[in-house]
């Protein structure tokens, strides 16, 4: 078995004058759940296509489970399941017909097709509507059917392109739960492309942020947040007699949003300046009862990274 489940080494891919990926470099270890994040056109779908041998890189090296997808595309795709951005289902077929068709496409042994299809439809709560045409399914049902399709051949490697896009919150939560379970069982490797940063933070061990085809950040959520130097939101509680002094000092470090009694809600304090703030308050004779910084979200880090790039 190769060292990495997915390897993208200095890959460049162009479409005419447009450079979709520019020296992209990252890898995904076996069993990891990795989020590939970025705006529309950042290069996420192109990356999935390269890793599955649907496209060839112009420069660089791509390996999927140690195989070269350009030379061994069919073999690579035997081991991968891809949930495409749109469910890619025929409205004129029933869910059951669709699953039987895809089972044949992935070479599920004939004598186990019915069992496998039935089990997946049951698991994704589609058994009752299995004989109905897909055209009558809700978005959530379509997405569940598409997800069931990716598992027909029990692939060790999953690519999920916007798995919860266009779903209502309840359906999105159900799909997230399924993704979490799929990743946990059999130690599957999962690459998720998403715009939903809360989802990425919730599901992923690591994230790779792409911007205009280049890697902007790569690491665990905590590492990316640290690297982004996101200003903190924090709650500060001081002695009731020293509110005015504390407010004067605090406002030089960030935005004081709300003051209620001795409690301050603040924004925009950088992690590096937090000890300075505390020291300044102590020096100013303020009694501090509580300093509670909120952990910055991946979303805040993402926006900060993108913002810096835009400004730069």
């Amino acid at each position: 078995m190769a060292d990495a489940a997915l390897l993208v080494r200095n890959v460049t891919r162009r479409f005419g004058e447009v450079t979709a990926l520019d020296q992209v470099d990252f890898q995904v270890e076996y069993g990891q759940v990795v989020g590939l994040l970025g705006h529309n056109g950042a290069g996420k779908t192109t990356t999935i296509r390269l890793l599955n041998g649907l496209l060839a890189p112009d420069e660089g090296e791509v390996r999927t489970m140690g195989l070269d997808p350009v030379a061994d595309g069919a073999e690579v795709r035997r081991h991968t399941g891809v949930l495409t951005e749109t469910p890619s289902l025929d409205d004129r077929m029933s869910g059951l017909e669709a699953m039987r068709f895809w089972a044949a496409m992935w070479g599920v042994p004939r004598d186990s097709v019915e069992e496998r299809v039935g089990w997946l439809l049951e698991r994704f709560q589609l058994t009752d509507r299995a004989r109905d045409r897909v055209g009558g399914y809700s978005r959530g049902m379509r997405q569940r059917l598409a997800l069931a399709r990716t598992l027909l051949h029990d692939p060790p490697l999953l690519f999920l392109d916007e798995p919860t896009a266009a779903l209502d919150p309840v359906a999105a939560r159900a799909v997230r739960e399924m993704v979490r379970t799929l990743a946990a069982e059999d130690q599957r490797t999962v690459l998720i492309c998403t715009h939903n940063l809360v989802e990425a933070q919730e599901l992923c061990d690591r994230v790779v942020i792409l911007r205009n085809g280049r890697v902007l950040a790569d690491g665990t959520t905590a590492e990316v947040v640290d690297a982004a130097s996101v200003p903190l939101a924090l709650v500060l509680e001081v002695g009731g007699q020293q509110v005015d002094t504390a407010r004067r000092i605090a406002s030089t470090f960030g935005d004081v949003r709300r003051v209620a009694g001795g409690r301050f809600d603040m924004d925009g304090v950088t992690r590096e300046r937090l000890p300075e703030l505390v020291a300044a308050l102590v020096d100013g004779g303020v009694d501090i009862y509580r300093v509670a910084p909120e952990a910055p979200s991946l979303e805040a880090a993402y926006l900060a990274l993108y913002g810096e790039e835009v400004e730069g």
């Binding site: 060839a56 991968t80 495409t84 749109t86 025929d90 068709f101 044949a104």
Partner: protein
């Protein structure tokens, strides 16, 4: 070659076609109009022509001797009817496989792109060649099936229309056998080999279907040339045209095998 995948795609494509009104309507209406309505209309029009029928005499007289013999020595009306139904309609028949190919091939690739179902297919372990072959096979089988069915219906209609007046079975001739079993499958193969490449490069069903419509023009030219007396398609010429058609079709398919790539399909997904 993974034949299970190929046949799975063929079966699915044909199932989808059977369930699409926009695709099925032309597949039913065109053969019915051409091989039920038109022969009946021609027979009755000739019947009602009266003395105007004499205008056809020079055309009948100009036919090759073997054809004139096959028309018998009955009245002019009967010979004219036999000529049109046994000879002119044989070339006309080639419109059916082309039309079927145009409709199904357009739905097969371009329609699949339009419905955004192609991408999932590209992520399966099928090779480019297997995909290409599957996309050729489905419409070809359908065109053969529709052609045979059209011929069957045509036989019934012709023989009912001329029942009792001719004294033999109509439209069961070496020419028709050659057209139905040899030339028509060849024409379907040629049309398809072009259409699959075209369908892979356009964005939607309508666009591919319109391009497919252009393929009917050579057949229309052939029919017109025969009507005008410029050429006469007998079974020998039909065998030759079949050979030519199959040779070109196989050549275009070989080129298609070489250039058909997932990557090109993805450019427009």
């Amino acid at each position: 070659m993974n034949w299970r995948s190929i046949f799975a795609i063929v079966r699915r494509d044909l199932t989808l076609v059977a369930r699409a009104k926009a695709v099925m309507v032309p597949l039913v209406i065109v053969p019915v109009v051409l091989f039920v309505g038109l022969p009946l209309l021609v027979s009755f029009a000739l019947d009602a022509a009266g003395s105007d029928l004499d205008d056809l005499l020079p055309l009948i007289d100009a036919l090759p001797e073997s054809v004139r013999i096959s028309l018998g020595d009955g009245p002019l009306l009967q010979r004219a009817q036999l000529y049109l139904l046994e000879h002119q309609f044989a070339t006309f028949f080639l419109i059916v496989p082309l039309m079927v190919c145009a409709v199904i091939a357009a739905d097969s690739f371009a329609g699949e792109k339009e419905r955004k179902t192609l991408e999932a297919l590209l992520y399966t372990p099928t090779t480019d060649r297997e995909l290409y072959l599957a996309k050729l096979f489905g419409p070809w089988l359908a065109s053969i099936a529709v052609s045979f069915a059209s011929y069957g219906v045509y036989l019934v209609v012709c023989n009912l229309a001329l029942a009792g007046s001719v004294g033999r079975v109509v439209a069961v001739t070496p020419l028709w056998a050659t057209v139905v079993l040899w030339l028509s499958p060849g024409v379907a193969a040629l049309g398809l080999s072009v259409l699959v490449v075209v369908s892979a490069r356009v964005r939607g069903f309508q666009e591919a279907y319109q391009v497919g419509g252009v393929l009917v023009l050579p057949v229309v030219a052939l029919v017109a040339a025969q009507f005008a007396g410029f050429l006469f398609v007998d079974s020998a010429l039909a065998v030759f045209l079949g050979l030519l058609t199959w040779a070109i079709a196989l050549g275009v398919m070989a080129v298609g095998f070489g250039i058909f790539r997932r990557e090109r399909l993805l450019e427009q997904v």
